[in-house]
């Protein structure tokens, strides 16, 4: 009997190992180049944030002016890091959950290079002054068909894997990943054709652009991150997802509410006034899907505190859930048309909200996934728990500081802007201390990400530890003398026994 159990577990492990092997190169390519773009984006973010309080900083040449550096920062973040992290997670997790090896790794890798080329040329376009001026769509118009084509070439295989999966239960993560795969082309094609190919009234174009930003956040990055968190939390703790009904509520309310959000940015602009109000109401209602998922994941993760204390993946995922809760609350607080919306519409707060969604929530869950996936696809363990710890602490404190400084500084700035009989300088000086704080916090994040990138690049070069012992935060699992356990020690406890990380 025990031999039968052992054989099934081992077959499972070998199947999983086969899937991981088939995806090793594309996954590592996406993660490593994504982390490199993240570092680039943070450097640009520091420069643009510094210009908010020190306008003379690096004002020497035109390609370093705020109007170019800021869009370059946010686009490098979204298309360079965000999408590539999402690609890595989608192709790996969908293959795992559909129990299918990837047969198109070469093609995905080629498409990944095309994507990177598109992002690179787009950024060169922005910095050389050919930006389109539409937030989050600043890449010159040549870029979007390139990105769309490589997107299809990358994720279509995950869609096929889902279609040919063995019969049975469809897991929560698969709902979210599949939804994200389908929703992104919808919003991307809609926004780009309406803005680049069939330009209508320019005020409405600004509305479509605001919708695109919101839809990209809540219909692509959010489902990818939630799908990942729904995979990692039960997988690492070994506990069931806390509540299936809450998961269903979270998924369907997101699908129904999120497409309506976004146009509140244009409240008071000459577009039909129900549009901004529906946008504001939908953004407020996004509290429901986000808080349902957050409660569910939180209850799942904290069911085993000892694993929470030791696992880097779970720690990052949980930090992301913390970001999600903050995001849910600020979605309500920032979008009340009669009180707060006029203050946040044109101030730093919008940026704080976006960074909270993209970094405080999405990126942290992605980091959790990176720490889980990379040892599996490279078959090496992470080199140093200290590097992971530096990455975690500096990122968490840094990003909380960026988001809170920007959101509260935005309120102050908004109050200054609303007092229209005072010179504009007043609004700027109200935001000044918060802008300085934001710059400093970005420096902390840069520091943490340099270590992350180096660590990841070493893993990519297969320079990770050859060991059976995972790299964990605490030393309370029997190897107190060495952070890595005794090197080369064969773990005889068998598969599925010691804590998985």
């Amino acid at each position: 009997m025990s031999s039968a159990i052992s054989t099934t577990t081992e077959q499972d492990a070998l199947l999983r190992a086969g899937i991981d092997r088939s995806l090793r190169h594309p996954v590592m390519f996406f993660l490593t180049s994504g982390a490199a773009w993240l570092a680039v984006s943070i450097v640009l973010g520091i420069i643009s944030s510094a210009k908010a309080h020190a306008p003379g900083f690096l004002s020497c040449c035109s390609w370093l002016t705020y109007g170019r550096v800021f869009p370059a920062h946010i686009n490098a973040f979204i298309y360079g890091w965000g999408f590539q992290a999402a690609f890595a997670v989608i192709i790996w997790m969908m293959a795992r959950l559909s129990r299918k090896e990837c047969t198109a790794a070469g093609l995905i890798l080629v498409a990944g290079h095309v994507w990177n080329l598109g992002v690179f040329l787009g950024l060169v376009g922005i910095l050389s002054g050919s930006s389109t001026g539409m937030p989050w769509m600043e890449f010159p118009a040549f870029a979007w068909p390139v990105l769309l084509a490589s997107y299809f070439a990358i994720v279509i295989w995950s869609f096929i894997q889902f279609r040919v999966r063995p019969e049975g239960h469809v897991y929560i993560s698969q709902w979210y990943l599949l939804a994200a795969i389908v929703w992104f082309p919808w919003i991307f094609i809609t926004a780009n054709t309406l803005l680049h190919c069939l330009p209508g009234h320019p005020v409405m174009a600004a509305g479509i652009n605001a919708w695109y930003k919101s839809a990209l956040t809540f219909l692509f990055f959010t489902p990818v991150a939630l799908g990942t968190a729904y995979y990692l939390a039960p997988k690492i703790t070994g506990q069931p997802v806390y509540s299936y009904s809450l998961a269903k509520l979270g998924f369907w309310s997101l699908a129904v509410i999120a497409p309506w959000a976004g146009m509140q940015k244009l409240a008071g602009a000459p577009i039909p006034y129900f549009l901004p109000y529906v946008g504001a109401a939908a953004t407020v209602m996004l509290f429901v899907p986000t808080i349902s998922a957050a409660i569910n994941l939180l209850r799942t993760a904290i069911s085993s505190p000892e694993i929470l204390a030791s696992s880097p993946s779970l720690r990052f995922t949980l930090a992301g859930i913390g970001g999600l809760i903050l995001l849910a609350c600020s979605a309500v607080v920032l979008n009340l048309p009669d009180s707060t919306l006029p203050l946040t519409q044109f101030s730093l707060s919008g940026y704080g909200f976006e960074i909270l969604a993209l970094y405080g929530f999405f990126s942290f869950v992605m980091f959790g996934a990176v720490y889980f996936i990379v040892p599996r696809v490279t078959r090496r363990e992470w080199l140093s728990r200290r590097l992971i710890k530096i990455h975690f602490l500096f990122s968490v404190y840094g990003i909380m500081a960026v988001a809170l400084f920007a959101i509260f500084g935005g309120f102050e700035q908004g109050i200054g802007q609303e007092d229209w009989q005072q010179p504009w300088q007043n609004a700027a000086s109200r935001a000044y201390p918060y802008a300085v704080g934001t710059t400093i916090a970005w420096c902390f994040i840069l520091f943490s990400n340099i270590f992350f990138f180096i660590h990841l690049a070493l893993m990519w070069l297969r320079l990770g530890r050859r060991s059976q012992h995972p790299t964990l935060f605490d030393a309370a699992h029997g190897h107190a003398s060495s952070p890595h356990g005794e090197e080369g020690d064969i773990d005889n406890a068998g598969p599925g026994y010691i804590s998985a990380h």
Binding site: S2, A13, A17, Q468, Y497
Partner: protein, 254 residues
């Protein structure tokens, strides 16, 4: 019999090296993974429902303010777009110095009416359109200059050269337009008169023009020298006087 995973290397039926070898060597991380367990069935907790309910009420309030749904007819909610704050008057635009205010008006009219022939640099083209820069008529007596603008000009100009026929520009021209153009030309293109042709002067010019003997025809050099070789009547205005830039009426200093 021992539990399956407790001490597998003591279980005789398993060859540890063989059974675990592959998994341990090649797939250690995969082998130590846990399975995702079936979904939990905990009910949605009451406080979560209450929190979501409160948020839905707030959202409902916002939707209630959203006007008629799917109405494309209304652009602004009443009072959303700002009116002056209580207690504060709308003080209008800031006052400007007279010369700058008149020139701002004049430059618009110049680009609409004069630019086509005399050019944006006021130099004409030397053959069919004479120059306004530094030439005596625009910079000379103001009544003569006004008559040329209002009625057009035929025959030779000051230097005896006949360039072409200038069509009359006075049709529909308000005193404000005329005053603006004249002030603009006399202080642009290198001209440095720096004086202001006031609204009163321009009104007088329009009356003089209407009262000409051969009203309706373009003026000629002879007529100009005979009848109009003087400045327009009216009180001179210090170019530094502060004016309202819209109405050109005197304004108080801010």
């Amino acid at each position: 019999m021992s539990l399956p995973n407790e001490k597998p290397d003591l279980e005789e039926s398993i060859n540890v090296t063989e059974a675990h070898g592959v998994a341990v060597r090649d797939a250690a991380a995969c082998a130590r993974e846990k399975r995702i367990v079936d979904n939990g069935i905990a009910p949605i907790s009451l406080w979560a429902l209450v929190a979501c309910g409160v948020v839905l009420l707030i959202a409902g309030g916002i939707l209630g303010d959203a006007g008629h749904w799917f109405s494309y007819g209304t652009l602004f909610r009443e009072n959303y777009v700002r009116t002056p704050a209580g207690g504060a008057e709308d003080t209008g635009p800031l006052p400007k110095e007279a010369l700058a205010a008149y020139m701002a008006k004049g430059s618009k009219i110049y680009s609409a009416k004069c630019n086509g022939c005399h050019g944006s640099d006021g130099k004409g083209n030397g053959s069919t359109f004479p120059s306004l820069a530094g030439t005596p008529w625009p910079n000379g007596e103001t009544e003569r200059f006004a008559m040329i603008i209002l009625n057009g000009l035929q025959g030779p100009v000051h230097d005896g050269i006949t360039y072409g026929v200038m069509p009359p520009q006075g049709i529909g021209m308000t005193p404000e337009d005329l005053a603006g153009i004249m002030t603009y030309v006399r202080s642009s293109f290198g001209n440095t008169k720096g004086d202001v042709i006031t609204l009163d002067m321009a009104k007088a010019a329009i009356e003089i023009s209407a009262a000409r003997k051969n009203a309706g025809n373009s003026v000629t050099a002879e007529e100009l020298s005979a009848d109009h070789l003087k400045d327009l009547p009216g009180e001179k205005l210090d170019p530094k006087t502060l004016l309202d830039p819209i109405t050109l009426a005197p304004a108080k200093a801010p």
